[in-house]
């Protein structure tokens, strides 16, 4: 295959890019835009959570612990437990939200978390109605 002379000059055409304004997302200055439906952190509507531990069962990462709560927010919650997620295990597959009978467990689009203490990553879902 012969290399053409034209092809040694043509790449310089790419330089017109310098006249374009960069479309970079400058993250720390400009916050990330929330995407509806993004699989981020968990939220749990405590007023409808029935503490059935379906989420715990389906999670293949064994990331979900059912822990006791002090104040009952839902009278139908027979066990008095709510899920807590270990974010050192979770893979955000959202199987737990798929099997949730009252649809109380959901994922929100917030997803950014950096921390220097590895023991803080046990996450109690925020009580947010959905």
């Amino acid at each position: 295959m012969k290399i053409q002379l034209k092809n040694s000059i043509a790449p310089l055409g790419a330089l017109k890019k310098i006249f374009e304004h960069p479309k970079t997302l400058c993250y720390p200055e400009v916050k990330a835009q929330n995407v509806t439906g993004y699989r981020g952190f968990h939220i749990n509507d405590l007023s409808t959570c029935i503490g059935c531990a379906n989420c715990q069962d389906v999670c293949m990462n064994e990331a979900i612990d059912m822990i006791a709560i002090d104040v009952d927010k839902n009278p139908k919650n027979n066990s008095g437990c709510i899920p807590r997620i270990d974010y050192g295990r979770c893979c955000w597959c959202s199987l737990c939200t798929d099997v949730c009978p009252p649809d109380s467990l959901k994922l929100e689009s917030e997803c950014i978390w950096a921390d220097d203490d590895s023991n803080r990553f046990l996450y109690l879902p925020k009580d947010k109605p959905c």
Binding site: A53, Q56, M66, N78, D86, G88, N119
Partner: protein, 177 residues
């Protein structure tokens, strides 16, 4: 294909997938025949399934034809312990690495393949990991640590029972009063 069907007991699984069971003695000759006398000239996968209840492994040679539109599984049952199968490296050079992998993962020996050194694992001391009797969770628990702080995990069924009992006794206490 028709021609092959006459020679061997080939089962059609799907329109493009055929299977053939052979014994360990005829395995190499069958593959040799298929490689040189038929269209199936490519070995695209070498599989091994552990049927621990039946105490045998099932080796599967996935052959693909020249047109790449038809697959033939040549399967063969072998024993689980200290088995050596004739290597097919002379027929299919790409089998070298596949056999190396199976040797490491299942402990199947391949005679005639002298590259059966480490594939993915380094200094592995335990059982070959893909065998069914190798319990990965037990291995993990004995070799690695999980992070602490998850002891407050409760069994929901227990909790329901406890709460029911508590509610009942509370009711009784109320009724009693």
């Amino acid at each position: 294909m028709q021609n092959l069907m006459q020679h061997f007991e080939i089962i059609q699984k799907t329109p493009t997938l055929y299977a053939l069971h052979v014994s360990i003695e005829t395995l190499f000759n069958t593959l040799h025949h298929l490689r040189y006398q038929s269209d199936f000239i490519t070995l695209s996968q070498l599989t091994c399934t552990d049927w621990i209840e039946e105490e045998r492994f099932e080796l599967g040679y996935m052959l693909t034809n020249l047109e790449r539109n038809c697959n033939l599984m040549v399967k063969c049952f072998i024993g689980r312990d200290d088995v050596t199968v004739a290597s097919v490296v002379t027929l299919f050079p790409q089998a070298e690495v596949m056999e190396r992998e199976l040797h490491e993962m299942f402990g199947v020996g391949f005679e005639g393949n002298d590259t059966l050194y480490d594939f993915a694992l380094e200094d592995w001391q335990d059982l070959p990991p893909m065998r069914r009797e190798f319990d990965t969770l037990a291995y993990v628990q004995s070799h690695y640590d999980f992070r602490d702080g998850r002891d407050d995990n409760l069994d929901v069924k227990e909790q329901i029972k406890i709460r029911k009992a508590a509610a009942k006794s509370a009711k009784e206490a109320q009724g009693g009063a």
